[in-house]
Each structure stands twice: as C-alpha cells, then as structure tokens.
Symmetry: C2
Subunit: 180 residues, 2 copies
C-alpha cells in the first residue's frame, strides 16, 4: 500500500518561543488534496532517575496548557548547548535536580504526538547519583518541587490520577518491568 503524502505547499502560521506551526497542503495517495496542521517542536529527553534507595525522582510544576500542576519525571528540550541527547540529560539533571548521574542508559525513543507534532523524545535511565559541584541556572520562570517515591507509591499515584503525564507513566511502567 502507498501511504506517502506529498507536500505541495507550506503556509507558515506561527513562529513561537517553543513551537512553530505550519499548515501543509498535501497530495494524498489517492490523488486528492488535503491540509495538515503541523506543530514543530525541539527534540527532547525524559529521564527516569532512580536513587540509591530505589526511589524515583519526580518534579511538581505548573503546566500552562492545562492550567494546573503536574508531577513528572525530569525532562527538557535539547538546546544549543547540547551536542547530544546525553548532554541534555546531564544538563537537565543539574539544572532541575542538582545531581550528576554516573550511569546514563537509553531506554527507548518515541514521537509524543505524531498526529499533530514532530516532537521526538528519548527516554533515559539515570542512576549512581552524586551532587553537583557547580549548579547551572534554571530556566527563567521555572518553579519546581522535587519528590522521591517508591514504586508502590508511584503506581498508586498513577491509579489515583495524581500522576497523569504520559512519559512519566511510561517510565514508571518500564521501571516496574525491570523490578520483577
């Protein structure tokens, strides 16, 4: 089966701080013409941080799109300072948790919302934590509360809806798979 859509035209809609939006005119496999909204977003990392006493490190923060706080694993966009996804992992953990992981392993990678956005995220496991000597500045306007939870606590927080962030649920289920 031929699936490919050919982009005939791209209309730029918005050039924002963290997203760019365009409306594409595409030719479908059956020859018809249609339109696709596309949100461009930087690639990102999500990090399953496990402490020496086998707890997950989570962050409570405000999320403007849903006008409430969420509890999430540490995560962030790759930026100009990062030569690799691993650089972003190390930088984010310094900025947000003030730790350096001696061990960083890639778990998997995925598109977060391929239906309307191109954001690609790699999920990492970070362990063997030490404190940072030189703290990097946090992003302006970033307010965080750090929490450490056991696996049963984290699973309860998914069940109750207290944890309702996709990558965080993924990371906790992955962690659960490694614990058996």
């Amino acid at each position: 089966m031929d699936f490919e859509e050919h982009v005939i035209d791209r209309k730029p809609i918005y050039d924002g701080a963290i997203i760019n939006v365009e409306n594409q005119t595409v030719k479908l496999p059956n020859g018809q013409v249609s339109h696709r909204d596309v949100v461009h977003h930087a690639n990102a990392v999500g990090i399953l941080v496990i402490t020496s006493d086998n707890k997950i490190v989570l962050e409570k923060q405000w999320r403007a799109p849903i006008a409430k706080t969420t509890i999430e694993i540490p995560a962030g966009k790759l930026d100009d300072r990062d030569n690799s996804y691993e650089d972003a992992v190390i930088r984010e953990l310094n900025e947000e948790i003030r730790v350096i992981p001696k061990k960083v392993q890639e778990i998997t990678g995925f598109y977060t919302t391929a239906g309307f956005s191109d954001e690609y995220m790699k999920l990492y496991l970070a362990t063997d934590l030490t404190s940072v000597n030189q703290e990097l500045p946090r992003d302006a306007g970033e307010f965080l509360e750090i929490q450490e939870k056991t696996l049963p606590e984290a699973l309860d927080m998914i069940k109750s809806g207290e944890i309702d962030d996709a990558k965080t649920i993924m990371a906790i289920w992955y962690w659960q798979l490694t614990q058996r």
Copy 2:
C-alpha cells in the same frame, strides 16, 4: 510552594482543523510576566486491542508531522458523535479495525504533551472482539494497514525502533505487565 500562573491575556494565533493555538501572557508566582504558547487539541482515546489468540492489533499509517509512516495502536479524537470516551472507543474500532469489543476497560489517562498542549488521552483495553455488521465510514484521507503481533514481536519492534509512538509503547509495556 505557590506554582500558579495567572493568565493576564490570551492572544489567539490560529484556528485550525485539529488544533487551536494561543499565546498567553501570564503572571508567574514571583510576580514576573512571561508568555506561554498553548496548543489546544481535542481529548482522545488510545486502544490496546487484544485478539482471542493474544495478539495486539496495530495500524500502519502516514503521519504528516514527521513525514513518515508509524505503527500505532488504534486511536482518535473524541468528536460530536461521542457522548463518552467509551463511545469513541467503539466508534474508532468500527471505523479503523472493523471490530466490536464485548469488553472495554479503562487502563489509565494522561496528558500527552503537557509542556505545550492540552491533549488528554484515555487508554483502554478492548477484548472479546466480534466483526461489525454495519461499517462506519473512515475519515476522508485516512489510509490504514492493520497488523497483528505477538508480545515478543511487539517488544522487538520497540527495540528496533519500528514502533516509535509514545502511547503504543506505553500500551505494549502495560500489556507485558499483565502477562506475567
């Protein structure tokens, strides 16, 4: 700690077919003023469909934002025809897979990308499948190829990167957790 950001102004940017975009001016907890890009998107369902011979049902389809095909669990936006998330599950499985599940159970719910979008998705398990008598029309421009995979096959597809969609990896890991 006070996390709440107060929205001072909302500037509509784009009113698209599947997304609306606005730029919010917000007052941060420390009193400073900042801006937030927000992509509004309908709520959605993702469905872990398991056949009587214990295979997962997957869909191959073109995804314009990443200009390639993906292999994903059935999913879709809630629309005007749906009075509930369960209605959307039944409708999507009719349209896309041509099955009716006798059993539909909610697994969990989550924001897919709370950093820039308000899309909320509920993940369901659908089993005890029968064929539909009355096929609903597919969305215009929707081209699908259906695949059935065993758990080891699906896990290999995550490992190889052939499956690289967040909700699909989540669903497969959840399935794996129920199999032990």
